[in-house]
C-alpha cells in the first residue's frame, strides 16, 4: 500500500487533504504538523509521497525538504503553498521537491501529481 505523509501546521487542511487522498484510493496516510514531527514520521514510515507546506512554524518547508532528501535522496516530495511565490517554489525544487501544489488543492490537481510521480 502506498504510504503518504502530509505536513502542514493547519489541522483543518491536513484533515481535508487526507480525505481527498482517501477518496483517491490512498488509505495509508500519516500527518505531521511541523519540522520535527515530519522528520520522525518520515524516518519511521518512509512514505512514497510527502506533501510539504512551504510555510511551517520554525524551520521552513525548504529546510524540511533538504532534511528529507538527506535521509532518502529518492523521496518524492511535493511542495505546497497558498500562494505562487516563484522564488520559494524554485528553492523547494532546488532542495529536491519534485512538484508543487497550490492550496487549496482539488481532485484534478492532486490526481495529476500522484499519477505524474507514481512509478
Amino acid at each position: 500500500m502506498t504510504k503518504i505523509l502530509v505536513v502542514d501546521d493547519s489541522e483543518a487542511f491536513r484533515k481535508v487533504m487526507i480525505e481527498l487522498l482517501v477518496r483517491a484510493g490512498f488509505h495509508d496516510v500519516a500527518e505531521a504538523k511541523d519540522f520535527d514531527e515530519a522528520l520522525d514520521r518520515f524516518r519511521q514510515d518512509r512514505p512514497r509521497f510527502t506533501f510539504v507546506d512551504m510555510i511551517l512554524p520554525g524551520k521552513s518547508g525548504v529546510d524540511l525538504t533538504k532534511a528529507l532528501i538527506a535521509i532518502d535522496p529518492n523521496a518524492t516530495i511535493i511542495a505546497m503553498s497558498s500562494i505562487i511565490n516563484k522564488t520559494m517554489i524554485r528553492q523547494s525544487l532546488d532542495a529536491g521537491a519534485k512538484d508543487f501544489l497550490l492550496k487549496p488543492t482539488n481532485t484534478i490537481a492532486l490526481s495529476s501529481v500522484l499519477a505524474m510521480w507514481s512509478d
Partner: protein, 186 residues
C-alpha cells in the same frame, strides 16, 4: 475604424510568464470553454495559473488574460502573475479597469485577445457581479458571443460560476455550450 479606443491586450508586449519547472495539472482543450461551479473560484484560478506558469508537453508556453472582480494586485501576488494582463471589474475609472456595465468593452477585450494570441487562456471571473449590474440575458449574449470566438480559435476559456447566485435555468443556459467541471477541494 474601431469602435473602441484603448490598448488591445497583448498587442505590443510579451505577456508570457516565466515558466516554473513543475507539472501541468490541467488539460483544457483548444476551442473549448469550461464552466467550473465553485465559490470562491479557487480551482479556476489554480487551473489558469498552472497553465500559464508551466509549459505544455511540447515545451510551449500559454499566454493568459484574466478578467476578475478581485483586485489585480492581490491576484498577481497570490498566483505569481508578473506579465499577464489582468482587468479589474469595478465601477471605478482607470487603466485596466472594466466597468461591469460596459459589456461592449468586456466583449472587445476578450475577443481581441483571442484574435491576437495563439493558444491563449481566458479566465472570466465575476459573472455574478456582471449579472447584478446587467440583465441576465445581456450577460448571456456576451458569454455566447465570446464562446463563439473561442470555439473558432486555439484558445480556451475558464468561467467560474457560483450556482447559488443563479436560478437553475440560468445555470443551464450558461452551461449549454460549455464543458461543466465539478470537483472536490481541500
Amino acid at each position: 475604424m474601431s469602435l473602441f479606443h484603448f490598448k488591445r491586450p497583448g498587442a505590443r508586449k510579451d505577456h508570457k510568464e516565466s515558466a516554473l519547472d513543475i507539472s501541468r495539472k490541467y488539460s483544457l482543450t483548444q476551442g473549448r470553454s469550461y464552466v467550473i461551479e465553485e465559490s470562491p473560484p479557487d480551482i479556476s484560478f489554480d487551473a489558469f495559473a498552472n497553465i500559464i506558469n508551466t509549459t505544455d508537453d511540447k515545451g510551449a508556453k500559454n499566454v493568459g488574460l484574466c478578467i476578475t472582480r478581485q483586485h489585480p494586485d492581490l491576484v498577481r501576488q497570490k498566483y505569481g502573475l508578473e506579465n499577464t494582463p489582468i482587468y479589474w471589474l469595478a465601477t471605478k475609472t482607470g487603466q485596466d479597469i472594466i466597468s461591469p456595465t460596459n459589456l461592449g468593452i468586456l466583449t472587445h477585450t476578450i475577443i481581441s485577445f483571442v484574435q491576437d494570441h495563439q493558444n491563449g487562456v481566458v479566465l472570466l471571473d465575476g459573472l455574478e457581479y456582471l449579472v447584478s449590474n446587467n440583465d441576465f440575458n445581456k450577460v448571456l449574449r456576451v458569454i455566447d458571443q465570446v464562446n463563439d470566438h473561442i470555439s473558432q480559435s486555439t484558445s480556451r476559456m475558464i468561467l467560474p460560476v457560483d450556482p447559488r447566485a443563479f436560478e437553475p435555468k440560468e445555470v443551464a443556459l450558461l452551461e449549454r455550450n460549455m464543458e461543466k467541471v465539478q470537483l472536490s477541494k481541500a
